[in-house]
Symmetry: C2
Subunit: 442 residues, 2 copies
Amino acid sequence: MRLGLTFILAAFSLNVQAETLKLDKDLAYHLVESLTVEIGPRLAGTEADLRSVVWAEQRLQQLGFDKVWREPFDMLYWERGAAKLTVAAPFNQSLVVTALGGSVGTPFDGISSQVVMFNTLEDLIQANKADVQDRIVFINHALERDIRGGFYGQVVGGRARGAVEAAKLGAKAIIIRSVGSSNNRFAHTGQMRYEDGVPRIPAAAISVPDAQQLSKMLVINPELTLSLQMNNNLPGTVTSHNVIAEITGSKRPDEIVLISAHLDSWDEGTGALDDGAGVGLVMATAALLKQEKPERTIRVVLFGNEEGGLIGARAYAARHHQQLANHVFASESDFGAGRIWRFDTGMGEQALTFARELQKKLAPLGIAMGPNTASGGPDVSILKAQGVPVASLMQDGTDYFDYHHTPNDTLDKIDPAALRQNLEAWLIMTREIANSQVNLRQ
Amino acid sequence: MRLGLTFILAAFSLNVQAETLKLDKDLAYHLVESLTVEIGPRLAGTEADLRSVVWAEQRLQQLGFDKVWREPFDMLYWERGAAKLTVAAPFNQSLVVTALGGSVGTPFDGISSQVVMFNTLEDLIQANKADVQDRIVFINHALERDIRGGFYGQVVGGRARGAVEAAKLGAKAIIIRSVGSSNNRFAHTGQMRYEDGVPRIPAAAISVPDAQQLSKMLVINPELTLSLQMNNNLPGTVTSHNVIAEITGSKRPDEIVLISAHLDSWDEGTGALDDGAGVGLVMATAALLKQEKPERTIRVVLFGNEEGGLIGARAYAARHHQQLANHVFASESDFGAGRIWRFDTGMGEQALTFARELQKKLAPLGIAMGPNTASGGPDVSILKAQGVPVASLMQDGTDYFDYHHTPNDTLDKIDPAALRQNLEAWLIMTREIANSQVNLRQ
């Protein structure tokens, strides 16, 4: 179904005070402040998503970019509804729950059933159908925090694939312990997937304290009944946009240095860490470098619908397939706003000599040389797969998953000093690459 | 109106596994764990409140108390409904909001109006009617944390009295910045009051990040419109209970050493810090001392409906008015579960010699001597006002108001080691007073 949602752009007079966006070291902070305050949550495909596109275009023009444009793409629109999860008698309590992105809703009266708990997705996959059939699956995976947020990759499979594996064994629904590292009582959303030929069952996350509470209840009464009600909608296909802007290169304008972030956010926080900070950083980096007349073109890409599965990035790669040979470099900022501690690369072996020289300029900021295995960032990984050289300025993610994908991802969680350090690093990396003639593919 | 809510007690088979409550140093923790997991939130007057009464009676009996009984009292029942607060165009965002306890709801369609912001209640009181009339008042008081939680008393007036002061100036509703010290995105509830002859306007709190967000929006657009919808109910009078239990004194059974906490909680967290920890502590203290055959009677009082305005405590004081002369001492634990750092007293000057000797026994736990100005705790302050000697084992409240009265007040916020230190201190204080002949009134 193609939706008839047509937002009239003229209606979006952002109506803010004429601001002077100062070209200073706090520009990244002021941009993320403006985005989160004036637009706030901007789930891909919503009216707020489109307001954020207008916001980005206006700000990029104010900042003096040489070209600013948008590129539309189609996407499946998903809409969160109210979610309610209650434990039946004798406990009679509600748990803090949120739908996973993409999940179907429940029937109007909800789904009530006994529960079967697993510690990991792997345990679920190995379970007997008789133990899962007609139950609500509960995956109670615990996490530990570290600077790289490494646990996330280990347990996020339960979020992405849990519904498919549970449905294969006949489960009625799945709830997971939030893929987050905080014991604050927020449920952590994020995208989940279905598979053709497997029943689509509702999928939701409960907060870490609620997962602990539920597991204690199950010790007392393994037969307890949970009731889940969710009324999400999947209305169909809508249009979203990547927003693109350039500082034209003074000497080699056809060579594109792409720096990026994603403009969309989940809908419960204001998307400050994920990824308002990145948006502010790459906009500020290019705007500040304009004064230096960089030799190569610096292209800022603010991807749409990263959260739904890199949809904007895939659209960008498809549309620009013929020009990717001109993309001499790409990088994305999408891991919050913690201090950068390492410079990872994903480029040709010969280029590493250049990269090591670049790292020496980053070293005074406390940034070490990392391995040559960088993805470049979630969206940029799509470009890397097509041969574009990349790097990742690795941010300290120790507390990133305390806030990520929760209502608690708000501006106050950004440390302005750490964001200044990020901006300095982005300026150095982008300047050095834009003013060099190095071929990072070799 | 007297409500027809009659909960059939026989229906409350708590149906938990037969547990052995071990008489050990973790007994307080296991009790608060049991209360928060098996009962959870227990707003006064609700079905869960009554389940908690049954829970307390059963546990007190299991613990071997000599007498266990309940004392009913009447109370006004208030029921939270859904609350929604949105900022109109151009911002189009929802803010995290919760009703203050006792607040009326809004009309079904809500209240939409421009906003007038004040930094403090005092600023509101001094405002011109023309600036407030027909607007939504926003009190944006900031807090700072400290070990005594001292700021709470300074700003909580905005919560308790803000609606009256705003209504006197013709406001349509009031929202306040949460009376809490955390930047987690939880709104902080708590009791508010109306005054006869002043219109009853809806009152709500928004989280600290939302208050910051709103104040930034007001800088950009002072004319912005807020819409508040709340459907709370005030159905009328119901019965709640104080639960009381005694270890009969071996030598002076008529002399009552009263130790207490409150059994009710707000409805959004599980009431672990406020005041499940206190419930666990005083139940465990008396149960453990039973083995030592204390000379005076130790009476545990679990007050009902503290949160609604010390309603259970007032009922207790009224019912026992004639016997208060036999109450040789009273104290309450109701400030979370942080380590105890000071022993404050509220007793006769001569008794301070005894108190200083008692403090020497507490000193190895890191507990200093405090002033003779203790309230004894919120509920016990009612008894102090009628001449009962009191003391307060002062808990470290540095992070208490991070969690207090929010959905985030859950078991995981209690440090079992700190609770053990609390239990040791309560055992020492209660033992020394129960085994002495000192007259603390003198």
